[in-house]
Amino acid sequence: MLISNFSSLKLVATLALFAAFGTAFAHGQEVVNVYSARHYDTDDSIYEEFTSKTGIKVNLISGGSDALIERLQREGKRSPADIFVTVDAGRLFQAEEKGIFQPIESSFLKQQIPANLRHPDGLWFGLTKRARIILRSKDRTKEGDIQNYEDLADPKWKGKVLIRSSTNVYNQSLVGSIIEAKGKSGAEAWCKGVVANMARPPQGGDRDQIKGVAAGEGDIAVANSYYYARMLSGTDEEREAASKVEVVFPNQENRGTHVNLSGIGVVKSAPNKANAIKFIEFLASDWAQGLFAKGNNEYPIAPSAETIPVLRGFGEFTEDKVNAAKFGKNNTEAIRMMDRAGWR
C-alpha cells in the first residue's frame, strides 16, 4: 500500500509537471482557445472542419455558462481564452456587462447576421436561434384555442399548462421578453396567471412537458422548437408522443414568437484575436450555419442558410424582432418576478 502510494505520488508529480509545461509552452501552433457553453457533437465536427480548412487548432473547454463567465472574469487580462460561446440572451448580456467581450468590426458578419440578432457594437453575434413554441394536445384542444403567450395565463387553462422550472434560462428569457412587451406589472400578472394554471409543480425538461401533454397530464406545453424537432426523429415512444401534439407559433397576429439564441464573442484579452475573428466568420458562413441547423435542429441565423425540412414543416412564422440584448437585460427582474409568483 505504501509503495503504491509513493508511486502514485510520483505519478502526481509527473502529471503536474507535464500539465504545467504542457499548457505553458504549447504555443508553437496557431490556435484558437474556445470556452463554450454549447456542447453539441455537431459543434465538434464544425470545429474540426475549421481546423482542416485553416490549420488553426481549436482548443475547447465546454461547461456551464456561469462557471465559464466566472472563470473568464477571474482570469482577467491573462486569460488564455479567445472565444466565448454561450446559449441564451440573458447570458450574453451578463458576459457583456462583466466586460468579457471586445467589439469586433467585420463586414462579413454584419452582412450574414440580422441586426436584431447581434450586439449593436459587435460585442457578440448570434450563432443559432430557437423558437419558444407552444404545443397543444391534438385530442383535447382545437386549432385556435390558444394563440398567444398571454393565453397561458387565461383561467380557462386552469390545471392544463405544463411548463418547466423558472431555473431554466429559456423561461427566464421568455419572461424577459414579456416584460419588454407588457411592462413589469403586466408581466408579473402573467406569471401569476401561469402559475395558477399549472397542471403540476414545474418539473423535468422541455421534452418531459411534451410527453406530459401526450400522456394526458396537461393540455398545453411550452418547449423549445429543437427539442420537439428532435423528438420527431427520436425513438418510437418519442415519435408517438410527438405525434399527439400540434405546434403553435404564438403571437403571430402581433409582435411575433419569442426567439432565443446562442451567441459568440471575442474575449477582451484574446491572445489570438485574428484567429478568433476567422473562427466566428467561419461559424457564420452558410455552410456551418446549415450544419448547425441539420445537426441540432436549430434555426440558422444567416438568412441565406437553409432551414432543415423538419423545421420547415412547422411552417413559416413571424419572430419577435426585439433585440436579444433588451430582454437579456430583464433577466434578473424576470427571475425575481417568478420567485414572487411562486414559480419554482
Partner: protein, 562 residues
C-alpha cells in the same frame, strides 16, 4: 521542567498539516470573503421569497436521508454479519453496488420510469383504463421521492463503515451482554450499536454532507434545497456573492454536526476488543424471518442498482451514443487516471493528517484536521469556484511579480492543468478519506504506539511499520470511496479541466443537459462499469479474512494510568 523542544520536527509536521488544511481552507476563505460584500438586494429577495422553503426542504431531506440510510445501512450490516439467511453471502458484497451509480443518474432513471408519462404509470393506465384523476401514484419528483432515491443511493456509506465496526467487535463483549440477560435484539441495541457509534457516525455524516451538497439528483426530483438554491442564485440571479453566502448556511450546519458529535463522545474511547472470528457464531434465521431479512437487504440493491443498470443497458442497446463508443477508451482512460491519482493523493494526505493528529495532538494540528473535513458539504460547483479563485489569485500575483521584475510573465501554468483539478478533488474529498482513516485509527490501541517507541521506532516508522499494515484495508476502503466519488464528480471537473480533456461524467452531462438522455445512457453505463470494479474489489476484500485488523487482547478499552 519545560517540555523539551523537538522543535524542528514538530514545526515541519505543523507546517505540512497547515498546508494540507489550506487546500480546503483557502477555497473556503474565498467563499467566506463574500460575506462582507453587498449582494445587490439578492439576499433580501431570497429571504422574502424562497429561502424559508429552501431551508425547510434541506432540513427534511438531510434528516430523512440521514435517518433512513442509518436504518438501512446499520440494519443490513447487522444482518449480514450476524445472521444467516437466504442469499446472505450475496448480499454481503452486493449491498455495496449502489455506490457505483452516480446519484444524478439514479434520480434520472427513477423519475423517467415512474413519472406520469413514464412506462410504469402508462402501462397502469392502459391496463385499467384509468385517466389522470382516477388513481394515486407516488410522485418520484417530490421531497419523499428525493429522500428515497438518495437513501438507496447513499446507504452503502453507512453499511460499509458499520459493517467494518461490527466485524471488529469482540464477540466476548456480545456474549457477556447475553449472559447479563440481554437477548440478541437488546444486545444489538445496547452493546453492538453503541460500540459501533463512531463508525456509524462517520458513515451517516458522509451521507448527510453528500445530501446537503447534492445538486443533480435533487434538481431532477424538483425539490428546492439550499444546494439547488445556491446554483440557481448563482446561475440565474448571477450573484456568486449571494450563492457563497448561502453556502455558508450549509457550512454552518456541518460545523454544528461535527461539533455535536465530538462533544458527545469526548469522554469515550472505542478500541475494539479481541475479535476472534471463531467466537462469533451467526444466527440461522428461520425461513419466514430469513425472507424478511432478504427483502430488507435486497430492495435497496434492486432500487439503487438493478433498476438503473437495467434501464441504461436497455437504452444503450436501443439508442446508444455511437460517439461515446468511439470516445469511450479516451474518456475512460481520462476518468481512470484522474480517479486513481486523486484517490491516492487523498488517502496519502488523509493518512498523514490523521497520523499527525494522533502523534502530536496539538491545537493547530487538531484544527487543521477539522478544517480539512469540511469540503464535502459544499456543493461541488461552489468549491470549484473557490479553488479556481484561489489558484488564479496566486497565479495573477506571481505574474505581477514577474512582470515588475523581468517585464515578462509566464502566464497561467497551473490553472487549467490536471494538477489544478487534482487539487480541487482534494478540497472536496479529503474529508472522505480523513473520516474513514481516523475512524480506523481510533480502533488501534495507543499502547501499540507506545510499545513501538520503546522499541526504538518513532513518527514515520510507526506509521509505516505499524499503522499502515494494520490499516491496510481501511486505506483501501478510503481509496475506493474517493475513487468512485471522483469518477462521478462533475462540477469541478467541468470548470477546471484543461482544454480538450473530457471524462465520462462530462460526456454524460453534455448529453443529459441537452435532454438527450438515451444517448447519455452509454457513458452512464461506462461510469458504472468503471466504478463497479473497485466496488466489487472492496466488497470482496471486506468479506475475506478478518485476521489482520484484530488488535490485541484486551477486554476493555481503557487506557491505564494508575
Amino acid at each position: 521542567m519545560a517540555k523539551p523542544a523537538q522543535s524542528l520536527r514538530s514545526a515541519c509536521t505543523l507546517v505540512l498539516c497547515v498546508l494540507i488544511a489550506s487546500l480546503v481552507a483557502v477555497p473556503l476563505l474565498q467563499i467566506l470573503s463574500s460575506l462582507g460584500q453587498p449582494s445587490g438586494g439578492t439576499w433580501q429577495h431570497l429571504r422574502e421569497t424562497v429561502l424559508p422553503r429552501y431551508l425547510w426542504n434541506t432540513m427534511f431531506l438531510a434528516i430523512g436521508v440521514g435517518f433512513s440510510t442509518m436504518v438501512m445501512g446499520v440494519g443490513a450490516a447487522w444482518l449480514v454479519t450476524r445472521c444467516r439467511f437466504i442469499g446472505s453471502w450475496v448480499f454481503e458484497w452486493a449491498l455495496l453496488l449502489p455506490l457505483a451509480i452516480p446519484s444524478y443518474l439514479l434520480a434520472y432513471a427513477a423519475t423517467d420510469v415512474f413519472q406520469f408519462s413514464g412506462p410504469v404509470q402508462t402501462s397502469l393506465r392502459e391496463l385499467f383504463d384509468w385517466s389522470r384523476n382516477d388513481y394515486w401514484f407516488p410522485n418520484a419528483r417530490s421531497l419523499p421521492g428525493a429522500i428515497v432515491i438518495l437513501s438507496v443511493n447513499l446507504y452503502p456509506y453507512v453499511y460499509l463503515t458499520t459493517r467494518a465496526a461490527f466485524l471488529e467487535q469482540s464477540s466476548c463483549v456480545r456474549e457477556m451482554s447475553r449472559t447479563l440477560g440481554l437477548g440478541p435484539w437488546k444486545s444489538f441495541f445496547r452493546v453492538s450499536l453503541p460500540m459501533a457509534r463512531p463508525s456509524i457516525f462517520i458513515g451517516v455524516s458522509l451521507v448527510v454532507m453528500e445530501t446537503l451538497s447534492e445538486f443533480g439528483a435533487v434538481d431532477y426530483c424538483a425539490v428546492d434545497t439550499l444546494a439547488t438554491g445556491i446554483y440557481r442564485t448563482w446561475t440565474s440571479r448571477g450573484s456568486l456573492v449571494a450563492a457563497s453566502q448561502l453556502s455558508l448556511c450549509l457550512l454552518g450546519a456541518v460545523g454544528f454536526l461535527i461539533a455535536f458529535e465530538s462533544l458527545s463522545r469526548r469522554s469515550l474511547r472505542f478500541y475494539s476488543g479481541d475479535a476472534s472470528p471463531k467466537g462469533s457464531k451467526r444466527i440461522q434465521l428461520s425461513f419466514p424471518k430469513g425472507l424478511v431479512a432478504a427483502l430488507f437487504c435486497g430492495s435497496p440493491i434492486l432500487a439503487g442498482f438493478l433498476l438503473p443498470v437495467t434501464l441504461f443497458a436497455y437504452k444503450t442497446w436501443n439508442h446508444g451514443d455511437e460517439r461515446a463508443m468511439e470516445m469511450l477508451s479516451e474518456l475512460g482512460k481520462n476518468s481512470l487516471i484522474l480517479a486513481t491519482v486523486a484517490a491516492s493523493l487523498t488517502v496519502l494526505l488523509g493518512l498523514y493528517l490523521s497520523h499527525a493528529r494522533r502523534v502530536r495532538p496539538s491545537l493547530p494540528i487538531r484544527m487543521a484536521s477539522r478544517v480539512s473535513g469540511l469540503g464535502y458539504a459544499i456543493p461541488g460547483g461552489v468549491i470549484a469556484m473557490g479553488v479556481l479563485g484561489a489558484i488564479l489569485h496566486f497565479e495573477n500575483g506571481l505574474n505581477r511579480v514577474f512582470e515588475s521584475l523581468l517585464s515578462w510573465s509566464p502566464g497561467f501554468f497551473f490553472s487549467g492543468s490536471i494538477a489544478a483539478l487534482i487539487v480541487a478533488y482534494q478540497t472536496r474529498f479529503l474529508s472522505v478519506s480523513l473520516g474513514v482513516i481516523q475512524a480506523g485509527l481510533t480502533r488501534i490501541h495507543p499502547d501499540l504506539d507506545s510499545v513501538s517507541r520503546t522499541l526504538g521506532k518513532s513518527g514515520f516508522a510507526i506509521l509505516s511499520k505499524v499503522h499502515l499494515p494494520i490499516l491496510k484495508r481501511t486505506l483501501l476502503c478510503a481509496f475506493m470511496l474517493v475513487f468512485v466519488d471522483v469518477l462521478k464528480e462533475l462540477p469541478a471537473t467541468l470548470i477546471l479541466r484543461p482544454f480538450n480533456f473530457d471524462t465520462l461524467a462530462v460526456r454524460v452531462y453534455q448529453l443529459a443537459s441537452d435532454e438527450r438522455l438515451d444517448e447519455a445512457s452509454t457513458a452512464a453505463i461506462a461510469i458504472i462499469a468503471t466504478g463497479i470494479i473497485p466496488v466489487i474489489l472492496l466488497s470482496r476484500l471486506m468479506s475475506r479474512g478478518q485476521l489482520i485488523e484484530t488488535p490485541f487482547r484486551q477486554t476493555q478499552g481503557r487506557r491505564n494510568h494508575d
